[in-house]
């Protein structure tokens, strides 16, 4: 019994250690961002909102944020449409062909981003299309597509195929069966893929670093130069925005998962 209690205590201790490690870097950022001095420190030595003012007024930061929003929204849209279509196509294939193609779709998550980024950079440079938002959107779509495909395939696999069959037997054309039955049942999966694609693209740095040009800096690229080259405390304000956004998205994903669970229960 004593041995068991000791083991249990050791496990609890490790869990607490891991939890602290997970939470710490996020937890210091918001308080630190309100520091009034010319450097960032935690705990803050004086309180001020000056870094937020810079973040919200400086045209460079505003431009980068706007670029990131445009890229993330468009990436999420393209990846969701292409990914959902692909997932629907995958479900029509034999199990063998499906598993082969899913491997292909997952490849961008396995190949390190630095390599996909360098490769795409090379292609776009040859085509003379480097440095615009379009290149970044393409790069981000490649990275986020697997998440949409996996989410939608999972939703479709959970759904009873007979539901679609039932709709057909009751007089619905394939398109109407999809619209009235399949889509309403799997939409939480599609939405989860879209939200994740948005977050992924909005936070993505490696692709953007290679593909952005002077006029197409994204928020993470601006933060990167803020951290690496000038120790600019505005980064803290920008980081706080990301922390809040992540929290909101996690809550949204939880909501979508519950919805999905409910939609599947018949």
């Amino acid at each position: 019994m004593k041995q068991a209690r000791g083991l249990n205590f050791a496990i609890t201790l490790s869990v607490i250690f891991a939890a602290v490690m997970m939470i710490l870097p996020n937890a210091v950022i918001i308080p630190a961002s309100f520091n009034g001095e010319n450097y960032i420190t935690f705990p803050p030595t004086s309180l001020s909102t000056r870094w937020y003012e810079t973040f919200l007024t400086d045209p460079v930061w505003r431009g980068a944020t706007w670029n990131s929003l445009v890229v993330a929204v468009l990436t999420a849209m393209v990846a969701t449409v292409l990914g959902t279509l692909a997932a629907l196509g995958l479900m029509r294939l034999s199990v063998r062909a499906r598993s082969l193609l899913v491997s292909l779709f997952l490849l961008p998550t396995i190949v390190p981003t630095i390599i996909s980024a360098v490769a795409l950079y090379g292609l776009l440079a040859q085509m003379g299309g480097r440095g615009g938002l379009l290149g970044i959107i393409i790069g981000h779509t490649i990275i986020t597509l697997p998440f949409v495909v996996v989410n939608v395939v999972a939703a479709l696999q959970q759904m009873d195929v007979r539901m679609e069959h039932a709709a057909r037997s009751l007089g619905a054309s394939p398109l109407r069966a999809f619209w009235h039955v399949t889509l309403p049942v799997i939409w939480p999966g599609i939405a989860a893929g879209a939200v994740f694609a948005f977050l992924c693209s909005f936070s993505e740095i490696v692709m953007s670093l290679f593909l952005s040009g002077a006029g197409s800096m994204t928020l993470p690229v601006q933060m990167w130069s803020g951290i690496r080259f000038e120790i600019n405390p505005t980064v803290a304000a920008a980081s706080s925005v990301f922390v809040v956004l992540s929290c909101a998205i996690v809550a949204l994903m939880g909501f979508l998962r519950r919805k999905q669970g409910k939609a599947m229960k018949s």
Binding site: L7, P112, V149, V153, V243
Partner: protein
């Protein structure tokens, strides 16, 4: 008939746009990159000779693999008890642990690095606290070196270790350790003789995954590491943006790519690594 054509080829038509995008903007450029690594005036393997013969480059390779390996080990030690709690907790407990463990999954990598910088820098929170209570006189070198890189990498990679191990543990019939107890084994023996061997494949799957992802890391070593002790990814970036040596960057990329794919293949074939992505 058009509708007949659509019906028969519906799967291909639905897959086509995504496949085309992947083929043109991912597969083709990556293959082109690999091809570029063999284009060298001194013969086709010249770039590779350079990678593997110059001590400075060999050192970068060694460092990348060594730190990635260390990340795997530290992650395994921390993740194992966490995964155990996760696999055996109540529903609420599971949700809480999962929410905390998945933080790096949801957070911008730059934000994480920036957070660690605030904590670990010479004038950072940790050093101030330690000097404040008189435990140390001079700040510990926790950032701008491999210590910082390891801390950052362990944090970001932990979920990829915890999830496969916990999934593996959840599959173990709880009656097996109970049976061991009923047969007279004390808790430590139960652990050593039932849990540990039964969960080894999960640890290996997680370890492979963490290693694969670690060797391609760029942001963490760039921000939390020093300017001299760089990773392969940084060497690739330097050769693209500063040295403008495309062929050498291509050779380095190919080395990382081949290592990644081989290890991933091993992981999928023998340890079910791809299960993490929800595949059957």
């Amino acid at each position: 008939m058009a509708s007949g054509f659509l019906r028969r080829h519906s799967a291909s038509l639905m897959l086509a746009p995504a496949m085309l995008l992947l083929a043109v903007f991912f597969l083709w450029p990556v293959l082109d990159l690999v091809r570029g690594s063999f284009a060298h005036p001194d013969g086709s393997l010249g770039q590779y000779e350079r990678v593997f013969s110059r001590p400075a480059y060999v050192l970068v390779l060694q460092r990348t693999f060594l730190i990635s390996g260390l990340t795997v080990l530290i992650c395994a030690v921390i993740a194992y008890p966490v995964a155990y709690r996760l696999a055996t907790a109540s529903t609420t407990g599971k949700l809480v642990i999962l929410a905390v463990i998945l933080i790096p999954f949801w957070t911008n990598l730059l934000v994480l690095c920036y957070g660690w910088l605030i904590i670990l820098s010479p004038t950072g929170t940790l050093n101030k606290a330690l000097t404040g209570i008189g435990l140390i006189d001079n700040p510990l070198p926790l950032s701008g070196n491999m210590a910082g890189v390891l801390i950052g990498m362990v944090q970001t990679m932990l979920p990829y270790m915890v999830l496969p191990v916990a999934a593996n543990m959840a599959r173990i019939d709880p009656r097996i350790p109970q049976a061991a107890r009923s047969l007279g084994a004390p808790p430590l023996q139960v652990f050593l003789r039932t849990w540990l061997p039964l969960t080894m494949s999960g640890v290996i799957a997680g370890g492979l995954l963490v290693f694969i992802m670690s060797i391609g890391f760029f942001i963490i070593p760039a921000i939390l590491g020093g300017t001299k002790d760089i990773f392969i990814a940084q060497l690739i970036e330097m050769n693209i943006n500063k040295v403008l040596n495309w062929g050498f960057a291509a050779a380095l990329s190919t080395v990382v790519l081949v290592t990644t794919l081989v290890l991933y293949g091993v992981g999928v074939r023998w340890f079910g690594v791809d299960a993490l992505w929800g595949r059957q």
